[in-house]
């Protein structure tokens, strides 16, 4: 059984992201050109290891500095929404991530330098950001692996729908470290192969990327609406989904019902793993018959807890420009005929579905449309 988690239309007053290509505009343009930010990098940074596909911000090392090197990049991303007032009762902030500053804990353990510890916990990392940006104390911190950003959007939407806030700033950031690269490498899903989302091949693989994003949500400002948001948690297995794909279907069903009769395209999760990719592609084909399915992690890598917000910003840029990037890096054969490998014109479409999935069989999806 699935329910819409949030079905009051909420406006996207501002939204942008940061990837190795730059902001949402630059990232969208690079994806349209079919460029890949991923490149082979030692999985353990300065300590070496296998060369795996990572997409790091230009000039940023995998090993963490003190203070964290990502802070300046995050401040630059958030400069357009800087200013007093965020973090107050009527203008709260939701911060989401799956990594926060955990690279600092890895640095603490490997170097013994105690100064890293202050930024290593979620609350320590967010406190660093909060002070740097001058936010007040009203900051919620959500972390649910790769659906984290969606939870921030749902919570923000509910605050607005309940009249408990005037605007909400949702911020998500995930910057890679040997901690997370080593973990996915140990799980044997981050290996020497580049990811090719939704491509039917013998072995699956993912890539990882630095990513951050923000959205300002409002009841009445902005040219895009988050119409319906949906969540579902299978609780079937830590790293696998129910084999019947029912978790994917449950998350998409409320959006399909709300979008009946409208022409949509789908931005899927598409990390490059085989079973999840196949189930997702089939669930999308069933829920949104004929809708093109794209995934961008073959270029950007998986930006983990921030992927929902990073890819939302790119989806909004796509709707704004009329061009949707294809599934960069992938080739035929694909899991379904709906997988769009090349960019396409989206001006005849009514909106986009943006979906993310996570460990624990967690699913999240939202319907983005012109307001």
């Amino acid at each position: 059984m699935a329910f819409p988690t949030q079905n009051s239309a909420i406006r996207l007053a501002a939204c942008d992201c940061l990837t190795p290509f730059g902001d949402a505009f630059a990232t969208h343009a690079a994806l349209l050109r079919g460029e890949r930010a991923l490149s082979p990098s030692p999985v353990l940074g300065r300590e070496g290891g296998d060369a795996v596909p990572l997409a790091l911000l230009p000039g940023r090392a995998l090993d963490e500095a003190n203070p964290p090197a990502w802070l300046h990049s995050l401040q630059t991303l958030l400069a357009p929404v800087a200013g007093p007032g965020w973090g107050t009762a009527r203008h709260p902030v939701c911060v989401t991530s799956s990594n926060f500053g955990v690279g600092s804990l890895y640095a603490l353990r490997r170097t013994g330098e105690a100064g890293h510890a202050a930024h290593g916990t979620p609350h320590g990392s967010v406190e660093l950001v909060r002070r740097a940006l001058g936010w007040g104390e009203n900051v919620a911190i959500f972390s649910h692996a790769c659906v984290s950003a969606h939870l921030g959007l749902v919570h923000a939407s509910r605050l607005l729908a309940a009249g408990a806030a005037d605007e909400v700033l949702v911020v998500s950031y995930d910057f890679l470290s040997p901690f997370v690269a080593g973990g996915f490498h140990a799980l044997k899903i981050l290996n020497v192969d580049l990811p090719v989302p939704y491509q039917d091949r013998a072995t699956g693989s993912i890539g990882l990327g630095d990513g951050a994003g923000y959205a300002v949500l409002s009841r009445n400002h902005g040219d895009f609406a988050l119409e319906v948001q949906s969540l579902h948690n299978e609780m079937y297995h830590f790293t696998a989904n129910k084999p019947d794909g029912s978790g994917f279907a449950a998350a998409l069903a409320p959006l399909a019902a709300a979008a009946a009769g409208r022409k949509l395209w789908v931005k899927g999760h598409g990390t490059g793993t085989l079973e999840a990719g196949r189930m997702e592609a089939q669930a999308v084909a069933q829920a949104f018959s004929g809708a093109p399915l794209v995934g961008w992690k073959g270029s950007l890598g998986h930006t983990l807890g921030s992927c929902g917000l990073v890819e939302l910003a790119i989806a909004a840029a796509s709707l704004r420009s009329g061009r949707t990037p294809g599934t960069v890096g992938s080739a035929s054969p694909t899991f379904t005929d709906a997988v769009a490998l090349e960019p396409f014109d989206n001006t005849a479409f009514d909106g986009a579905v943006c979906a993310s999935n996570a460990f624990g069989g967690a699913h999240a999806a939202l319907l983005l449309s012109h307001a």
Binding site: T5, L44, A117, F142, M235, G360
Partner: protein, 218 residues
Amino acid sequence: MLERYIQAVRTDAPGSEEPAATRDRLKARFAPGAVRRMTQLGLFVGAVLGELQPGEADALVYATQFGEGRALEGYLDSFPGASPTLFQTSIHPSGAQQGLIGRQRSVREFFPLAGGNQLVATAVQAALLSDAERVLFCGGEERGTWLVPHGAASDRAFAFALALTRVRAADSIGRLALEPVADSAGALALPDWFELLHNRRPFAGAVAPGWRLVLEWQ
């Protein structure tokens, strides 16, 4: 004002219990074989939450400041041969997921919060904003070891779970509310919240700028 009624509360105050003792004390609460890979926090939270019988239509809110401290320590210690098992279990919100996966209990919504000065305030807010008929609000900590002096793991252990409903019932045992108030500031730490629940003590006071929390028992 946001409010819900408390239908049930469960707490566990294990003191300085070591993980092996916790495993032995709580193993009967979980499926055979499931406890072997569970963390201490997973056992604490899974046990109290399990007593409330989570269902698919429930919304779940989970609050912890530090999460899986020992799995995190063990994972960091495992480099350069990173442990895949400890990587999985160190990832937030593993503490709440372990018991639910062990019981194969899907849930509609799951809002895991990960610390901060307003952890209790925002977790309560998430619980009270949900449109689910029943919300289960759980949380807790496990005691870490070498990360504790760095302020990166908890120095105490506890767990709690609340069942919250929209409507007051004959068997409601309390009320939880958040009221907007002007010019207030404050915070309520997770261990202090746990003590309120464990001792069934009432509370009324600012927990975040602009928000006052009311906890009443009948």
